[in-house]
């Protein structure tokens, strides 16, 4: 297990290096930090002097190395727009996004597992057919349209739920503002979380169904029937545990997709999270903030993927310490 962990962490480190390199290249390409600092009125000579002082004329790799050193110490530059450290700005927005992801994950887990499993066990049941039909409709509706539709129906027409913002929040652990613990916060997060879940939920339902149907055909399931086990045990333990393995792997990737889709959801609902901030930063060409976002999101992806790999290793007895799978 230890070797497995070290290998995974090593890979994660390499990925983070690549991300930081790409991010830095973007920073290098986009915008002139000098202009943001001193404006247009300064003479070319002074500019050149300032450039030298700031190290902007150093070779690319030297600048990258400096950037890396700063990044490791948590210094990702200062946002042009907010005039505050970029990392601080992002960490301020992080709780709102994580709230959203948690709420969406809640919907996904709540519905995908029972519906997917049922549709696999009873593929001909009317409920399964309806669920499958709805799932393909769900896949075909882009997330921002779901969001717009929900706003139109529940906020504009019916007026039941708010269409933007986070509502009341409550402080948690001294620094974590969450919408999930207040009534008003929950009312606000309802529509955004459903629209965010609407991308992944149908994919999960279909994936769980097809994986489970395949597992149900396996010899060991036939053997389980021949042993006289009860249906419930065969479905919920023998089949479901085997279904879980591929679902965990793909689920990790889907979590990454969800972070990407927060950009869309947060934009439609003006949810004050990282995604909304990122899009604004792009429109304002706030380069340090863009770069900081990329690095933070990259870190989130790498951490979730590593965690997913480790969970997979724990659930799957066939993963040994070298991380190779022994095919049965």
């Amino acid at each position: 297990m230890l070797a497995f962990l070290i290998r995974r962490l090593g890979q994660a480190l390499v990925v983070m290096l690549v991300i930081s390199f790409l991010s830095f290249s973007i920073q290098d390409e986009l915008g002139d930090p000098l202009r943001e600092l001193v404006g247009q009125s300064v003479s070319e000579e002074t500019r050149e002097k300032l450039r030298d002082e700031m190290g902007l004329n150093d070779p690319f790799l030297v600048q990258y190395w400096r950037f890396l050193g700063n990044a490791v110490r948590g210094d990702l530059g200062t946002s042009y727009f907010f005039k505050r450290p970029a990392l601080e700005v992002i960490l301020g927005k992080l709780p709102a996004t994580i709230d959203l992801v948690i709420a969406a994950t809640f919907w996904i887990l709540l519905f995908s597992i029972p519906v997917g499993v049922f549709a696999a066990i009873r593929p001909d049941h009317w409920f399964s057919r309806v669920a499958m039909g709805l799932s393909i409709l769900g896949i075909s509706i882009p997330v921002f349209l779901t969001a717009i539709f929900l706003i139109y129906l529940f906020a504009v027409e019916l007026g039941w739920l708010p269409s933007y913002g986070r509502g009341d929040t409550r402080m948690l652990f001294g620094g974590w503002e969450t919408s999930l613990l207040t009534r008003d916060g929950l009312r606000h997060i309802f529509l955004p979380s459903i629209s965010l879940a609407s991308v992944i939920l149908p994919l999960f339902v279909r994936m769980i169904r097809s994986e489970m149907m395949e597992v149900l055909e396996a010899e060991y399931i036939k053997f389980a029937w021949a042993k006289g086990l009860r249906k419930r045990r065969i479905w919920m333990l023998h089949a479901f545990k085997n279904t879980l393995l591929p679902v965990i792997t793909v689920g990790g990737v889907q979590l990454g997709i969800m972070v990407a889709y927060t950009i869309l959801t947060e934009t439609v609902f003006q949810w004050p999270g990282m995604g909304f901030m990122f899009l604004e930063a792009i429109h304002r060409v706030d380069t340090p903030l863009i770069v900081a976002y990329l690095i933070v999101v990259g870190l989130i992806f790498v951490v979730t993927n590593t965690v997913v790999d480790i969970i997979y290793g724990l659930v799957n007895p066939m993963v040994n310490i070298t991380g190779q799978r022994n095919e049965p």
């Binding site: 010899e219 021949a226 042993k227 006289g228 023998h238 085997n242 393995l245 007895p317 066939m318």
Partner: protein
């Protein structure tokens, strides 16, 4: 009264192109402690027959006719819950490929204990003791540690022993073994067969051994049923059938055994292939491969008729 008595069993599969009969008019008895073998080419309906006895034919297949008498119940029409109590308890099954039979994500212990506890109200500790005892019976070294292991940590031969141990857990009356050695190495095949034979004797278990390999059957069983295209075409004692087959197909099978061939000569194969279940020829299904076929074989279905101590479905059985 025989322990198991199959009467005119038929199994059909509902396919998009129409209904296909996989098993027709199959009848045989199994006495308590008796070992019988079902022999035939792949696709002859052997496995279907095994699954039908446990009422485990899955959709789109179903038992279309006949009865399966076991201890006063007709398994073909028994309700689901009562059938479940028989499976793995009074009738166990051993599958072909031990690499695929055990659930890869559950320990051997879990897979054994659950089988005991689903049929008997015993404590976890007692269940583990029973499991250890049966693992010893199939001669698995250090059984206690095996309980904690996952299937992939065992070799193929070891896994098949575990599967046999699982089949023995509830001291069943009958074990159905569907090609139990086909997927194993030749050297291990003999060990497993010998083990199966010893256990059936020791525990007085009836055995239905399904195989395409006549050599295997002749070593283990007392009686043989030969299947062709979903029907039993000949049944009788192993010794008699191997020595003097009556049905031309059986004769062909025996003639094709390597030891019946003179070294240096080609194997004596039966010409042609078994028809697929969708287009079984009229009359005797074997007529287009049979060297003795006459007009009658093409038109009339031969009924199983008793011939001395055996039954054979052929218009022109081979006599000495």
């Amino acid at each position: 009264m025989a322990l198991l008595s199959v009467k005119n069993l038929g199994v059909e599969f509902e396919l998009r192109t129409g209904t296909v009969a996989a098993l027709r008019d199959v009848s045989f008895d199994l006495e308590s402690g008796e070992r019988i073998g079902i022999v035939g080419e792949s696709g002859a309906g052997k496995s279907v027959c095994a699954f039908a006895i446990l009422n485990l034919i899955s959709k789109p297949g179903f038992i279309s006719s006949g009865r399966i008498w076991f201890k006063g119940n007709d398994l073909a029409s028994l309700d689901g819950e009562s059938m479940r109590r028989i499976r793995g308890n009074e009738i166990s099954m051993i599958f072909q490929d031990p690499m695929m039979t055990l659930n890869p994500v559950l320990t051997i212990g879990t897979q054994m204990v659950e089988t005991i506890r689903t049929h008997h109200p015993v404590s976890l500790d007692d269940a583990r003791n029973i499991a250890v005892e049966k693992l010893k019976a199939v001669r698995i070294p250090s059984p206690e540690t095996r309980l904690e292991q996952y299937p992939h940590e065992l070799s193929g031969g070891m896994r098949q022993r575990v599967v046999i141990a699982i089949a023995l857990l509830s001291d069943p009356g009958i074990i159905i073994a569907d090609e139990p050695t086909t997927a194993l190495d030749v050297t291990i095949q003999a060990e497993i067969l010998e083990l199966l034979l010893t256990l059936c004797n020791d525990y007085h278990v009836g055995l239905i051994l399904i195989t395409h390999d006549l050599a295997v059957v002749s070593e283990v069983t007392q009686r043989i049923l030969v299947m062709y295209a979903g029907r039993i075409i000949e049944q009788g004692t192993t010794r008699e059938i191997i020595a003097r087959p009556s049905h031309p197909y059986t004769e062909g099978l025996i003639g094709a055994l390597p030891e019946k061939t003179t070294p240096g000569q080609p194997l004596n194969q039966i010409p042609g292939v078994m028809p697929s279940l969708q287009d079984i020829p009229s009359g005797c299904a074997f007529h287009n491969r049979c060297e003795f076929a006459a007009q009658r074989c093409r038109s009339d279905l031969p009924r199983p008729t008793d011939l001395e101590s055996r039954s054979v479905a052929c218009h022109f059985p081979i006599r000495d």
